[in-house]
Each structure stands twice: as C-alpha cells, then as structure tokens.
C-alpha cells in the first residue's frame, strides 16, 4: 500500500485554434477526431469556467495551430484571461519554441508548460527549462499512433509523418532530460470515445518515475477508471468527452470514486 493521499486527476483539454469571426481573429475552442476532423465548440474561457465549477483538477490548453506561442498575443491574452477568471492549475502548450516562452507563459498565469516537437528536435531544451523553472514545470507531450505490428510509435507533426521512434524509449529520454510529466496522446483513438490506450500508458509508467497523463479515447466514465487502474496513469485528460457530455460530470466523478479510485469529490 502506497502512503500518499494524492488524488488522481481529471484534466479537461482545451484545444484551441485561431478563427476569423467577422473582422477579428479569435482563439476558439475545438475538438478533433484522430487529429484530423476539427469541430468548433465555442469560447474557451466560458468553457473553462464551467469546468472549474465541475471540479476539474487542472486545465490543459493546447494551441493546435502550433503558431509560435511566445509571439502570439491572442493566445497569451487567452492564458491571462483563463488565469484571471479561474483559480485552477493551467498547463499550456502548442507552439512553444524556446526556453524564454516558458517565462512568458508563466508570467501570464500558466503553471506548467508543455512541449512536443521541440522536445524531439532539441532535447537539451528540456534540461535547460528544468534547470531554470524546475522539472515540475516541464511537461513533455508525446503523440503516438500504433503501426500494423502493434507498436506504439511517436507521431510528429500534423502531416501524419511517422518516424520509427518507440514511445517508451522517447518517454524515458524525456524524463532523463528533466521532464516532470509525460502527456501521452493516442492519435488513433483521439475523439473516438472507444477507450484509452492503457497498454501503452502502463508500459511508459513502468519505465519512468514521473507522473504519466493519458489522453485520447475517453467516451465513458469507466474509461477513466481503466486509465488509472490498467494504464497506471496519474491523470487522464480528455477534450471531446468533457465538451459533449450529457451525463452530469459529478456523476462521472462519483462513478470513478465508487470504483475505488481516489479523486476529489468536493473542495
């Protein structure tokens, strides 16, 4: 029996894209399926406030356009509004290009910064960021797909380019470089609602000692339970599940708690 009363986390993901609305461009909340089909949902700040009222443990804001976030006043402004209007932890990623972007995002109210391609192109940035901001601030995001032989391989970029890089190996390298958390997203399961990839997550969780956040495929409260129990994840993140859920989120939480998973039920 492990001696901690740390709760497992439920993390709504806010995927954000730039959209022209009349004469301005705004960040808009979207959901995706398999990283391809994109569906506009609405305003990220209103949605974040709903999530806060529903006891979300943390928010992940991901700029899926991947525009350089440090120069993107629209997105920096969005982070600032989210930090002003909600009082929960914010992880921000998408388009993080350099260590100075961490400082910019933290200044606007982010608590953790998520890096993706950068982590693979210039792994030394993980170490630099960890030395300055602490490992707890650095989340390395690994998107993956499963090949015909059943191997989970890192998926980089949006063009569907596959590189033959093993997910577990990348996660181990990221953790060694100083990442404080690994965010795993299964691109094949993204938005499908058919369940999480617990097999890949548990392999990663067994190989690293930092927390693993699992994402991609939640459609039922039971999928969260599986992610925690079989995937050994410390946190489960979901976009589509939380955006289009008819079921009361408190019932979802109650279901997870009744399955014996330690989560927050009240503040």
């Amino acid at each position: 029996m492990t001696s901690t009363r740390l709760k497992k986390r439920l993390i709504p993901k806010l995927l954000v894209k730039h959209r022209r609305v009349g004469s301005d461009v705004r960040p808009v909340l979207v959901t995706t399926r398999q990283f391809r089909e994109v569906l506009d949902v609405g305003d990220p700040v209103s949605q974040a406030k709903i999530y806060e009222a529903q006891l979300a443990d943390e928010l992940a804001v991901l700029n899926i356009d991947g525009t350089p976030i440090g120069k993107d006043e629209l997105l920096l402004g969005l982070i600032e509004r989210l930090a002003t209007e909600t009082f929960m932890p914010l992880t921000v990623g998408g388009g993080v290009r350099e260590v100075d972007d961490f400082a910019l995002l933290l200044e606007r109210g982010a608590d953790k910064v998520c890096i993706n391609q950068l982590a693979f192109q210039r792994p030394e940035l993980i170490s630099e960021a960890a030395a300055r901001f602490g490992a707890q601030c650095v989340v390395v995001s690994i998107d993956f797909r499963t090949d015909a032989a059943g191997h989970a391989l890192v998926h980089t970029g949006h063009a569907g380019v596959r590189e033959n890089v093993d997910v577990v190996e990348s996660a181990v390298r990221a953790a060694e470089a100083g990442a404080g958390e690994i965010l795993l997203t299964d691109a094949d399961r993204d938005g499908m609602g058919s369940g999480l990839n617990c097999r890949c997550a548990s392999a990663v969780a067994a190989a690293v000692s930092v927390p693993v956040i699992l994402s991609g495929g939640c459609g039922l409260a039971e999928h969260f339970v599986e992610g925690f129990r079989e995937g050994c994840a410390e946190a489960v993140a979901a976009g589509t599940f939380f955006c289009f859920r008819d079921q009361n989120p408190m019932q979802t939480r109650a279901h997870i708690r009744n399955a014996g998973i330690p989560i927050r039920i009240e503040t």
Binding site: G109, E234, A235
Partner: protein
Amino acid sequence: MTPIGRGRTVGIVNYQAGNIQSIENAFVYLGAQTCRVRAEADFAECTHVILPGVGAFGFCSERLQASGLVDSLRRWAFDDERPMLGICVGMQLLADRSEESPQARGLGWIGGVVQHIPAGGGIRVPHVGWNTVDFNRAYGEFPGGSAADFYFDHSFAYHDPRHGESVGSCTHGAQFTAIVQRDNITAVQFHPEKSQSAGMRFLAGFLRH
C-alpha cells in the same frame, strides 16, 4: 458581506521568479488591492507581503539575492513584524538550504533543509496534483484537526523547520511540512492561488493577520 480583502494591499515580491499574475488574481478576487514590490519604497503601501517562487531553488535564490530586496524583506518580517506569506519555492527559500541546489543559500528564517522527495513503490515525483493537508492546529477558517485538499507541484519538500511550527502536514511517500508558521511569517508548499475554493479560504485566513 464585506470582502475579506477590503482595505488590504498585498505586495507581491517581484524578483522575476514567480507566478505573480495568478497570485494577484486571487487577492483581487478576495477584494484586496495588489502591488508588485520591486524596491524598498514599495513596501510602504503594503499591509501584507507575498514571497512567491517558481523554478529551481538555486535560480530563485540567485534572483532574490540579486533583487536587493532581502534586507527590506527582513525589516518587514522581523523589525516591523508584518504579515508575510511564502508560496512554493517562496517557502523553500526560508530554509537554510535545499538539496536541489546545494551551493545556493536560503534565507534561514525558518531554517532546516529542503529535501528531494524519494520516488519508487508507487510514489511518483514530481508530486503533482491535489493532496490532503492535515491541519495540526487552526489556521484562519481551518480548525485544528481538519483536513482539506490543495494543489501541489514540486519535487522537493520541507521536513524539519528549525524555527516555527508545522501548521499543516501532507504525505507523499514520506510526510512533509505543507504549512509552517513562525509568528507573523507563514509559508506553504502548495499553491493556494490555484487551489480553487480551499485556496481562497486559506488566503482569506492569511489576510486576517
């Protein structure tokens, strides 16, 4: 109901190593005014002072020393005995030193050593997320013997405050000090500004000092 923060001005020490914006937002929500403390003169308008801290211990310690604010902060906390709250690395800086950056010096106002949390046996480090704090004695609205969940995000923790009293403890593998108090100085390892309603209640308690 009058907001608890009315008439209070919370100064947040700005030494380029903290999540100042989020802390300001929380106090504004509680009805207080906020200001960023960059120089000795800025202390004059404050009723309460926050020492934030995000980053590696060595980085924060270096920045704080370089800010030239340490003596002013010492006068505030010790000569004038005014309320001060250290948050996260802002708490750790009150120790003598930290295993994270053995060469760096802490302020030593609470004393003791900040140690790495051992991972293994199901304990993952960094310690990220909501964990339960047991109040060993009353603080603000939290009675002694009560417990509440707060948001943590750290790999190093306080075990043995040399001065002051452990007001709240938390367990992640080993038990550590989550809230410590020495007279008018309070320090917390968690992030009250990110801990939703429990965090707001905690900060309201600090404003009552």
